[in-house]
């Protein structure tokens, strides 16, 4: 049996102590993995939080109803955890759970086959960890010759070099890949982080230059979020990923402080439409900051809180079709599996948990994230809070979120902020509590927006 390279830990959950002992001895003796044997699903989730690199081998009946929560935990903060379930599991596996993240084996499986599956998955993961994804748009936005090789993914283990360092990546190259239906290309991990550093410097230069235009700031911010999103899926929300995310906050603040009208900023954002989560997040961050300025709430702390909330709010979802669902009703009527529905309905809590991993984050960010799908009448999710429980900053975030979604649903360049306000006024969407306060302030400024 070949050795799996790298420092690896294993977490076990088996109701039968003898079976747990067997796996523990096999993993320690054959692979030298430190093993943690758990006695409950809650303990498993705690262990995964502490060891996101771990490999979990569990009896599916012991996990029981905690399986969706475990899968969510893996999606939210432990992207690299490999889960091997033994027992009657296929039916309970969440949709979207791929073979490289989670694998189900029948209860009759032999120990040697379980270990072989684990080896295969960990070896695949090692290959996967060598490459990081980057969108074609972000590559194009660099606007300079490549200083790294670029690969295309052919399969879980296969990556083919398609561009060499020193090659150009300009519009013809962009269009060539786009015509083939390619949305992302891959860089070696080290190169990816070097691009992250370059972008960080660029964001710093742009945010400290008074001549930076909205277009430049929006494009840079969109590229940053693309990297944040892709790095998050490989790394989790590490300090380096967070630093990059924060650099986009400074760009949103830069634009918020300019005297530009909100409608002009909206128009600039509209021109930069891209994939749902990327565009939606970038636009939300910019609109939140601008709205805070309009309401006279401009402070570094407020800008930081709402922008960080914008960046994190859909990060646990990862997929455009999940993030596009806005109301409990839309989620329930969607064709998603029950597990995916729970995942969507709980993503505000998962996002708040992510925020809690950032030490300096004020609790306000967590509240904004937990409340960002709530509605004035209590018809939102996850907690069905009505207007009485919504903080002013959450109300600002929710209304900004509504603007961004309405914009995305409108034909390009067809969104009008005055029409939006009139419509929401007529429907009395934002009349009570802090919703009312924020909305009235916007209505008062309506003609100057």
């Amino acid at each position: 049996m070949s050795q799996v390279h790298g420092k690896q830990q294993a977490i076990l959950l088996f109701p039968n102590q003898l079976v747990s002992d067997v796996y523990s001895i096999a993993l320690e003796s054959v692979y030298g993995f430190p093993v943690t044997s758990c006695t409950s699903p809650e303990e498993v989730i705690r262990q995964i939080r502490a060891q996101p690199e771990a490999c979990l081998i569990a009896d599916s009946t012991a996990l029981g109803k905690a399986l969706p929560e475990l899968f969510q935990a893996q999606q939210s903060f432990a992207r690299r955890t490999f889960i091997l379930l033994i027992g009657d599991t296929e039916a309970g596996l969440p949709r979207g759970a791929t073979g490289t993240q989670i694998k189900a084996l029948p209860a009759t499986v032999l120990l040697s086959d379980v270990l072989a599956e684990m080896e295969k998955a960990l070896s695949l993961r090692e290959v996967g960890l060598r490459y990081c994804r980057m969108s074609l748009k972000t590559l194009l936005a660099r606007n300079e010759r490549l200083h790294f090789d670029v690969y295309i993914k052919l399969g879980d283990e296969k990556y083919l070099k398609v561009l060499n360092a020193e090659d150009k990546f300009e519009l013809p190259e962009f269009e060539r890949f786009q015509a083939k239906g390619v949305e992302h290309l891959y860089l070696l991990r080290g190169d990816f982080f070097s691009v992250m550093d370059d972008l960080l410097k660029k964001a710093h230069a742009l945010s400290s230059s008074p001549s930076t235009t909205e277009e430049e700031a929006i494009h840079a911010s969109s590229a940053i979020f693309d990297l944040v999103q892709n790095a998050f899926h490989v790394e989790g929300f590490t300090p380096q990923v967070r630093k990059l995310a924060e650099s986009s906050i400074s760009l949103a603040v830069h634009c918020a402080k300019r005297k530009t009208a909100l409608s002009l900023l909206l128009s600039r954002l509209d021109e930069s439409r891209g994939s749902y989560i990327n565009w939606h997040t970038t636009a939300l961050s910019f609109i939140c900051c601008k709205m805070a300025t309009l309401l006279g709430w401009e402070s570094d702390s407020t800008f930081y809180k709402i922008s960080l909330a914008a960046i994190l709010h859909d990060l646990p979802l990862g997929r455009d079709e999940l993030a596009a669902l806005q109301t409990r009703d839309e989620v329930m009527k969607s064709g998603l599996s029950e597990t995916e529905k729970v995942h969507v309905l709980k993503h505000p809590i998962d996002a708040a948990r992510l925020a809690a991993t950032v030490e300096e984050t004020a609790s306000d960010v967590g509240f904004i994230l937990e409340q960002h799908h709530e509605r004035q009448d209590g018809g939102g999710f996850p907690a069905m809070l009505d207007h009485k429980d919504i903080s002013p900053i959450s109300a600002l975030f929710i209304i900004s979120h509504d603007i961004v979604n309405t914009m995305f649903k409108s034909p390009p360049q067809n969104f009008d902020i005055q029409n939006f306000l009139d419509d929401r006024d007529e429907q009395q969407c934002y009349t009570r509590g802090n919703y009312g306060k924020v909305f009235r302030a916007l209505m008062e400024a309506r003609d100057s927006l």
Binding site: M1, N16, L18, S112, L115
Partner: protein
């Protein structure tokens, strides 16, 4: 050089790893190993890994048999990872039971799980 032993204890299984060349002077070490095993608690299975055993002297057979008997009184015995020459020698001398011998540790552990499922 005297043989050495190492115990890997879990709740219901203990793996005893032996190394060295077994001869008559090792009787005390095997007895000490049994004392350690008794002190470690009760086990349903005791797996003796012989990967490090390079041979068994003619005069050591009796001690090895006593060692196996003492283990059987404590739990189910499985012996694994015998070097080919050592396995041939011990079997020829009638010092091993076929149903207690497994090729390697994974085979021994697999046997435990399959017995448990029955």
């Amino acid at each position: 050089m005297a043989i050495e032993y190492f115990l890997n204890k879990k709740s219901e299984i203990c793996v005893v790893s032996l190394s060295g060349k077994l001869d008559a002077s090792d009787a005390a070490v095997l007895e000490q190993c049994m004392v350690s095993l008794s002190e470690a608690g009760k086990f349903r299975y005791i797996v003796v890994s012989m990967a490090g055993i390079q041979g068994c002297g003619q005069d050591a057979g009796r001690h090895f048999t006593k060692f196996q008997r003492a283990i059987r009184e404590k739990g189910n015995l499985l012996i694994c990872q015998l070097q080919a020459g050592v396995e041939r020698d011990l079997k020829a001398r009638g010092l091993l039971r076929d149903d207690e011998v497994e090729r390697d540790l994974i085979s021994a552990l697999t046997k435990i799980v399959s017995r448990e499922k029955r």
